[in-house]
Amino acid sequence: MSPSQTSRLLKRLALPIAFAMFVAGSLLFDLSAGIRAGRNFLSFGREMIAIVPATFILIGLFEAWIPQEKIERHLGQEAGFASHFWSMILAGSTVGGLMVAFPVAYSLRRKGARHAVVFSYLGTAGVVRVPMTLFEMSFLGVPFTLVRYAVALPLLIAMAEILGQVLDRRGFEMRTPSRDTTAGTRPHPRRPE
């Protein structure tokens, strides 16, 4: 590891290291609050230790086995209500947050998808993404996920259908983002999701 990499790593770990030093100091001087914080850390960490790596294995399998481009190709031509189904499947396989969803939505539009489909993709990308759902089920439980799907999906698809039709009537068109508008928002996409 080069020195610059080491210093970058140290900077990223500054907070956990400070926390570890605080707990170590508390142990040394018998500070009860610090010791309790350390115990909390261990008990939270113990719970995550099995769940988090397992979730990442599932995410890795998902990404390796399900090629996103294949679904994307389906969406350009598909019309009617079935298109919402496909946009949902695509949304499920999207890795990344809204940062990634907008460029994908734009490429969908350019491949000929209706506006309603573009919006249902943007909406459902925030609901059914598989990696996110796996984490949610692990930490908040399957019933929580089921209720969330049951409420959010119909609302978002109805919203996309109405919004899409209104915008079509008004002659709306998605813009081609110019380089400077997007470059300024986030130069290094660091979200590893």
Binding site: F44, V147, L163
Partner: protein, 162 residues
């Protein structure tokens, strides 16, 4: 016991994948490791902060603060925080799990996580570049409403609202 279900599922699928296609499985493991090491630093930071916060605000006090008569206020606040925050799901859901165990109601967590995923104040400049200001405002506003609807139904289903 419950904590072992997910690792068991992951291990089984990994084995099935390995038997069917070794190179693809290797790629899956590579992706998993890359993503995992990518979030390790922010993940440890979140655990540190959560441990400190729970020590300062005890679970009993936290629970009294955000549920009961303060339920609606904290749900609204959670939706606002979720809209403004930029946080990957790998951080948000473990955090929500910790909060849940320390007395935060499902309804509040629903408002937070759903708005986090659907509403983007921080990503607004990016969104505007594609959709324009007006449509972006409408989309975010409607999505915030969806988040509140989900929170409401979660509150009813989980018996937190009376």
């Amino acid at each position: 016991m419950k904590q072992l279900i997910l690792p068991a599922v992951a291990a089984t699928l990994l084995l099935v994948s390995f038997l069917r296609d070794r190179t693809r499985t290797a790629e899956a493991v590579r992706i998993a490791i890359r993503r995992f090491t990518g979030i390790l630093a922010p993940f440890l930071a979140m655990l540190s902060l959560a441990s400190l916060a729970i020590t300062l605000v005890t679970p009993e006090r936290l629970s009294a603060l955000v549920s009961g008569e303060h339920m609606w206020l904290s749900t609204g606040l959670a939706a606002i925080i979720g809209s403004v925050a930029l946080m990957p799901g790998f951080i948000a859901f473990p955090l929500a799990g910790i909060l849940l165990e320390n007395g935060v109601p499902y309804m509040v967590l629903a408002a937070f996580t759903v708005s986090l995923m659907l509403v983007g104040v921080a990503t607004f400049p990016l969104e505007r570049a594609y959709l324009g200001t007006g449509v972006s405002l409408v989309r975010n506003g409607l999505c915030l409403a969806v988040a509140m609807c989900v929170a409401l139904v979660i509150g009813i289903v989980f018996g937190e609202l009376r």
